[in-house]
Every structure is written in structure tokens, then in C-alpha cells.
């Protein structure tokens, strides 16, 4: 016998696959009954096959540690997370709506600043933002789009509803793992793909290339698109190489590029060759030592000049991060309303802004119930998980908030939904989130069918980041009830 779903109980949390012990949600019936019928040795064999596939395919991520950087195999759970196509269609619209509004916002911020003049977003918030780049003021990127590639984190609360947890508009990562998870799952459960209609995700690299090609300053069918990586020691290097490979683009490091006469060239075996579009996976501040960090060796001197003159396209545009600040996040519903005159299709998680005196007092009084996040960190660093923190940690955080209220927001601890993961020969509920990827150019938008499901492999944990004990799952958008 395979997995005994009667013994699986996720209560009090909403589970993605199982509604009540023993009962699958409608769209998850096929996989649930399949795993029930599969012999337990067979399940073990499939799990092993997945591990072998990950090792051989060299799907790794890098962990920075005192003992040096370690390349680890990607932690993966073989049970897919399944979402109904109908529900996903709505989420997709919500994601496109959100990114459209954010792009209009960024363009406004670096040009007319209407939204500030209309006092929908406080001016302070922008001028004091660490991600506002003065150097970008007045810039008009092709199509008015600044964030071409966005990774938006979605979570479900106890009510089963999707909420936006955060937007990643700078250099969101994870899409290669989404694609590789699918490749591994196809190797492991080929029979399920025959019987079910699972929406394919494999066209992402093509869509990405088209998005990048659409912003080329030279109107060519095949502009020179490159992926700029900080190098092999970066934790996301695997992904940079993967995307370059799948797009047929050159993977370059800063030292491969040079700016002459405000145009960007790469050093090739036949001399210098012009570059049109740079999909950069380097943070703003390392892009150009002439403008930002002077001792950055990762970037290219003169790159900003070339970009500001419109001779090269950068994706995402420098300065786009001004819209993924966690404080600004709380204004996104208002931003959607302001530019699109629409209600947000996917709601925000209710949040408290510490720069507001009244809300700050509420946060300080309720630290044991709240999650506090700094405005600019990513990867789950620098957070306070109030309910799980010690009194000492809470007191320390209270001081941090008082010293720099602008830098913090707080949210109630969500009852993140769970999905079954394989533990030994049975399944146990673990918390998950979802990062879909949204592409936008002047010519249209694209949303991945599903996204990267991250799972906190540690029992009871809410932290899904791979650097902190998280793993991932394949995500299926199933178009038929089954």
C-alpha cells in the first residue's frame, strides 16, 4: 500500500491537496489516489530516482558559509502541488494587473511624480527609499516598462484565499528551479502526464527571450541579448547559466563587457561585438562603478551612460526596486486604483506601517503576534517572527523599530497553507508558498502556469527559503477536474 491519506491531517491549516483526512480536493484526486495505490517500495524508488536525477543533472544551489561556498543539491519533494486551472486564471489576471500598475508607478516616479503630487503615496517614502536611484530620473525606457521580469510571492491563508506577500522587481530568482522541478517530475511520474492535462511551463525561456528582444534599442529580429552574471560564485549562478542556455544568449561577466562611445560591446574572439539587451542578474549598486559602488568589479564602467542614452536596454531597469520596498507594498492597492482605476484582483496581506505613529504603537504593543519585516532585505533575513521569538529578541526588535520606523512593516502571522511532503513512507503537511513569474514588455504580458512552490521542510516552520532549510515542489495547474 502507498500513502494512507486517512492518517494525513493538516488541521488547522488549509491544505492544497487534501480537504479533510482521506478526502482529496477535486483537482488533486488523480495524484492523491495514484500515490495511494503505488506500493510503498515503489514510492521510495521514485524518490530515489528524483535524487539521482537532481545529482546527475547538476541542479544545485550555493550556500554561503564560513567554511566557503558549498554547492548543494536542490532539495526537492516529489509530491506535486496542484492548483485548479479555473482558480489560476483569476490569479493570473491579478498578477498582470499588479505588475502593470507597478510599472506605471515606477515610470511616474522617475518622471512626472503625479502620484506624489496627488498625495496618494507620501513623498517621503520615495525620497527616503534605499531603492530610489537619482541617476534614473528622467529616463524613458522602451514601452515605459521598468520591471520586465517580476517574481511575486503568493500565499494562502487559512481561508484558502491567495494573498500577495511581496513583489520582487529587482533580480527575482527561482524560475530555473521551477523548470527543472518539472523536468525531474516528468522523469519520476511519466504516467501521470499521460492521463492528466497539466499546463506546460516549458515555453518560459522563449517568452523571456521575446520579452527581452522586444526592448532592444535596435529594431532587429535577433538582437544581441546577454545574461549578465556576477559569476560562478553567486548563489544563483546555476540559474543564470540555465536561462542563457535555454535562450541561446551569451552568459557574460562584467569583464566580458566594455563601453565605448556610450555603446556596450562584448569581448569576443573576433574583437568587440555590440550588445543590445542585457538581462542583468547583478544588483543596481554593482552595475556601474562610475555611478554606484566605485570598487565594484562585477559591473561595467559606463554602463549607465549607455543605458541613459538609450543605446542598450537593461532588464530590469535600474531603479525598478523602488516599487518592491516592503513599505511601499502597503500602498500597492492604492497604486492599482490610482493608475488603472480597478480594484486589486489579489489582495495584499494586511500590514502595519511603522512610519505611521499610531500603527507603530500597535506593532510595538503586539510584537508577540506579528511578523516584522525590514523594507529592503530578501531571502527571509532580518525578520522577526513574533510568536516564535524570545522576549529578548522582541525587545531588540522594538529598539530597531523605534530607531528607524521607516524601515519596518508588520503583518499578522498568516496560517500559511500546507501541502503533503514525503517523510519516510508517509506524507506530512508542510507550509508552502508560491512564486509565479510575470513578464512584461510594451507588447504584452505573460505569467508562468503556476510557478515555483517553495516548502518549509522543517516541521511547523514557515521559512521556505532554500538558504534556510526550504525545499521545493513541482506545481501543477490542472485544467480538468480529476
Amino acid at each position: 500500500m502507498g500513502i494512507d491519506w486517512n492518517a494525513y491531517n493538516s488541521a488547522p491549516f488549509y491544505d492544497e491537496l487534501i480537504s479533510t483526512p482521506g478526502n482529496a480536493r477535486k483537482h488533486a484526486r488523480a495524484i492523491v489516489s495514484y500515490l495511494h495505490k503505488l506500493k510503498s517500495e515503489e514510492i521510495g524508488a521514485r524518490k530515489h530516482a528524483a535524487e539521482v536525477a537532481i545529482t546527475t543533472m547538476g541542479i544545485t544551489f550555493t550556500v554561503y558559509s564560513d567554511a566557503g561556498n558549498i554547492d548543494r543539491d536542490w532539495p526537492f519533494d516529489i509530491i506535486p502541488r496542484v492548483i485548479a486551472a479555473k482558480e489560476w486564471a483569476v490569479a493570473e489576471q491579478g498578477l498582470v494587473q499588479r505588475l502593470q500598475a507597478l510599472n506605471m508607478f515606477i515610470d511616474d516616479i522617475y518622471n512626472d511624480q503625479k502620484i506624489l503630487k496627488d498625495k496618494v503615496v507620501p513623498k517621503d517614502l520615495i525620497t527616503k527609499s534605499k531603492n530610489f536611484r537619482k541617476a534614473c530620473v528622467g529616463m524613458k525606457p522602451v514601452g515605459g516598462i521598468w520591471a520586465h521580469i517580476c517574481g511575486t510571492d503568493l500565499v494562502r491563508d487559512g481561508d484558502g484565499q491567495f494573498y500577495v506577500l511581496e513583489d520582487n522587481l529587482r533580480v527575482p530568482s527561482g524560475v530555473s528551479y521551477m523548470l527543472e522541478n518539472r523536468a525531474v517530475t516528468k522523469r519520476v511520474f511519466p504516467e501521470l502526464f499521460e492521463d492528466l492535462t497539466i499546463l506546460p511551463i516549458s515555453d518560459y525561456p522563449t517568452q523571456l527571450f521575446d520579452t527581452l528582444a522586444a526592448i532592444s534599442p535596435r529594431p532587429l529580429d535577433y538582437p544581441e541579448v546577454v545574461v549578465l552574471t556576477p559569476g560562478v560564485y553567486n548563489s544563483a549562478y546555476f540559474e543564470h547559466a540555465y536561462l542563457a542556455q535555454r535562450m541561446g544568449a551569451e552568459l557574460v561577466e562584467g569583464s566580458d563587457l566594455v563601453v565605448e562611445d556610450d555603446h556596450v560591446f562584448m569581448r569576443t574572439i573576433s574583437g568587440l561585438s555590440k550588445v543590445d539587451v542585457i538581462y542583468r542578474r547583478i544588483d543596481d549598486l554593482f552595475l556601474d562603478p562610475e555611478v554606484f559602488f566605485k570598487d565594484s568589479a562585477l559591473g561595467v564602467p559606463g554602463l549607465m551612460r549607455a543605458w541613459l542614452k538609450g543605446n542598450v536596454a537593461l532588464a530590469n531597469a535600474p531603479g525598478a526596486g523602488v516599487a518592491d520596498d516592503k513599505v511601499l507594498y502597503t500602498y500597492v492597492p492604492a497604486i492599482i486604483k490610482y493608475y488603472l482605476d480597478q480594484e486589486p484582483i489579489i489582495e495584499n496581506v494586511p500590514s502595519f506601517i511603522c512610519s505611521d505613529e499610531k500603527q507603530k504603537q500597535h506593532v510595538l504593543a503586539n510584537l508577540d503576534k506579528l511578523v516584522v519585516k525590514p523594507a529592503n532585505e530578501s531571502g527571509g533575513y532580518g525578520m522577526l517572527m513574533g510568536p516564535q521569538a524570545t522576549k529578548k529578541q522582541r525587545n531588540e526588535f522594538a529598539e530597531l523599530i523605534k530607531a528607524d520606523p521607516r524601515n519596518y512593516i508588520a503583518q499578522p502571522l498568516l496560517s500559511l497553507s500546507t501541502a503533503p511532503v514525503l517523510v519516510g513512507d508517509h506524507a506530512e503537511p508542510r507550509h508552502v508558498d508560491l512564486r509565479p513569474f510575470i513578464l512584461q514588455s510594451g507588447q504584452g504580458s505573460y505569467v508562468t502556469a503556476g510557478g515555483l512552490t517553495r516548502v518549509a521542510l522543517v516541521k511547523g516552520s514557515y521559512i521556505v527559503n532554500s538558504s534556510q532549510g526550504g525545499g521545493s515542489k513541482d506545481t501543477w495547474i490542472v485544467s480538468e477536474d480529476g
Binding site: 545529482t55 546527475t56 543533472m57 547538476g58 545574461v227 556576477p230 559569476g231 560562478v232 560564485y233 547559466a241 540555465y242 542563457a244 542556455q245 544568449a249 551569451e250 552568459l251 557574460v252 561577466e253 562584467g254 569583464s255 566580458d256 562584448m266 569581448r267 569576443t268 574572439i269 573576433s270 574583437g271 565594484s296 568589479a297 562585477l298
Partner: protein, 324 residues
């Protein structure tokens, strides 16, 4: 294509070929010593000498016996040319050119690396060694076939071909040296090695998969002069020095700005072609000749590097980047 990528592909091929040929070297020696009489002074130290590892070896080991020498050549961390290190570097270069080579090529190299990492240290004993070396040689064959059959024969491929053939020419010359060096010692021997010369050269040929092809080519019985002439000069056999140089010319011929590189290779071709190896007076001058052409190979490498790879200034920037 990017200069940096060209360089990494070239080294990917060189390291892979080096791993394969080091495996061949160890193999030929294992067989050779079985055929020679006890007491003949043909020892394992010759291998250390031929691969240029004397100093590093002495830092770690005392006895130049079979176990030490083979584990030095297979798994020793401090020996940059050990099979394991070659595979680590081949893999690192493959990892950083994943977007260029076919995905299956990366999987193959990664798989071989994972195998070597867990087995190299256990493979200095005679029987496990055979299995290990065979796997390395076969995987290298597989990679060559995979790239030849599944990768566009574009500039990227030309750099692979150049790296592989320069390394192969170099190693073939070293393997010839195994034969020469063994005979060099014979004067000091108490036992006359000359009766075994024939079997020595047969082993040299076998290590390069060349015995059969040699027999088809040279009707006479196996003898040193003919074997060396064959391994240096026969253009049709793919492991001979001249064949490798010809392949280098073909590949470099496809690339831009190739004048200096072609000129350097041509000079080496001439030198090899004009050599009357068999007429060289004694094994000492023969050994010197091998040393000379190895210097020529180094010159070819330098020419390739200065024409197509990142320049030293750019490289310096590169190092800083990596350190950041």
C-alpha cells in the same frame, strides 16, 4: 563568441583529454611491468618524471612504488595533473560553459566527476584501478562522440578541438617518452632489457589503441624506430602527433585572426615532419627531441591564448571579480 567562453571550452577539452591520457599512461605501465623481467630497472618513477611531477611527488611520498605512483597520478590532491584534479577542472569549465555545450555533455562530465570523486581514492589497487581507468577513458570517448554528433561545429567546437588535440599531441609525445626512457635506463641495468624491447613498444602502441592500426600500416615486426615514426608522423591515425597538429590547423583555420597561431603550428609540423627520429644518435638525444617538441606545444598554447582569450589586464579584472 566570448573570449572567456573560448578559453573555458579549450580548457574543458584539455583537462578531459589529460584525464584520459593519464589513465592511458597508468594503464600502459601496469601492463608493461607485467611483461618485463623482475629486476629490470624500469620503474614507476619514470611515470612521475614524464608527467613532470617529481617535486610534488617527493613532498608527499617516499617510495616510488606502484601503489604510491598510481595513487599520485589518479587521486593526489596536490598533483594538479592527477586524473581527479583534471576531472574537477574539466567539470568546473563545463559548469561555466553550460549554456554553450549540449546539456547531455554537462551531465556526462558531471556524472564522471561524481564517480571519480567517490572512487578515485580507492582505485590504486591493481584490479579496482583497471575498472576506474577504463571508466575514465570510455567517458572521454563518449564525450568526444557526443560533442562531435550533437554540438554545432561552430567556433565553440573549434576551441574544443584545439584543446583536445594540443593536449593529445603533448601526451602522445610523453607516452613515446615512456618507451624511450625505459630503454635509456638499460645501460644501467643488470639484466639485459633488449630482448623485451619488442613487448615494450607493443605496450606503448596499445596504450594509444594503436597496435592494430600499426600492424595494418607497418608490415614488419614491432620495433622501436617504426613505432616512434608511426606515432609521430602517421597522418591517418588520430592519436599521432602529426595528425593532432593537422587537426589544430583545421580548427584554427576556421577562426578569425588566426595568422600567428597557424604560423606557429606550421613550424612545429615542419619540425616533426623533418625529424629523423630513428637517426637520432641515442636515447638521450631522442629524449631531448621529445622535450623540444613539448616546448613547441607550449608555444602554440601561448599563441592561442594571446590571440583569442581575455588579455592579462582583462584577466586581472576577472580575478578581482572572482574574489569579490
Amino acid at each position: 563568441m566570448l573570449s572567456r567562453v573560448a578559453e573555458r571550452l579549450y580548457w574543458l577539452a584539455r583537462h578531459m583529454e589529460r584525464a584520459e591520457n593519464t589513465a592511458r599512461l597508468v594503464n600502459v605501465y601496469s601492463n608493461l611491468l607485467l611483461d618485463l623481467p623482475k629486476g629490470s630497472k624500469v620503474g614507476w618513477e619514470t611515470l612521475i618524471h614524464i608527467t613532470g611531477g617529481d617535486q610534488v611527488f617527493e613532498e608527499t611520498f617516499k617510495n616510488k612504488d606502484e601503489t604510491n605512483v598510481s595513487s599520485f597520478l589518479i587521486a593526489q590532491k596536490s598533483n594538479m595533473g592527477s586524473i581527479l584534479n583534471s576531472l574537477i577542472m574539466a567539470r568546473e569549465n563545463a559548469r561555466t560553459t553550460r549554456e554553450i555545450i549540449p546539456a547531455e555533455a554537462w551531465e556526462l562530465i558531471n556524472d564522471l566527476y561524481l564517480y571519480a570523486r567517490s572512487n578515485a581514492a580507492k582505485s590504486s589497487g591493481r584490479s579496482s584501478r583497471q575498472v576506474f581507468l577504463k571508466r575514465v577513458i570510455n567517458s572521454s570517448f563518449q564525450l568526444t562522440g557526443l560533442l562531435s554528433g550533437c554540438m554545432s561545429h561552430n567556433h565553440a567546437y573549434d576551441f574544443v578541438v584545439m584543446g583536445r588535440n594540443l593536449e593529445r599531441a603533448d601526451m602522445t609525445s610523453r607516452i613515446i617518452d615512456v618507451g624511450v626512457a625505459s630503454l635509456m635506463n638499460h645501460a644501467k641495468n643488470t639484466i639485459d632489457i633488449i630482448p623485451y624491447e619488442n613487448s615494450l613498444w607493443m605496450n606503448v602502441l596499445r596504450s594509444l589503441n594503436g597496435y592494430q592500426m600499426y600492424r595494418q600500416h607497418v608490415q614488419d615486426r614491432v620495433n622501436g624506430e617504426d613505432v616512434v615514426d608511426f606515432l609521430l608522423l602517421e597522418p591517418s591515425f588520430p592519436r599521432t602527433v602529426l595528425h593532432c597538429l593537422n587537426r589544430l590547423v583545421e580548427a584554427a583555420g576556421q577562426l578569425p585572426n588566426n595568422e600567428n597561431s597557424l604560423r606557429t603550428v606550421a613550424a612545429t609540423q615542419r619540425k616533426v615532419r623533418d625529424s629523423k627520429f630513428s637517426e637520432l644518435l641515442d636515447t638521450n638525444t631522442q629524449h631531448d627531441f621529445i622535450d623540444q617538441i613539448q616546448l613547441e606545444f607550449a608555444a602554440i598554447h601561448n599563441e592561442i591564448a594571446s590571440t583569442w582569450f581575455l588579455k592579462p589586464v582583462e584577466l586581472q579584472q576577472q580575478t578581482q571579480t572572482n574574489a569579490a
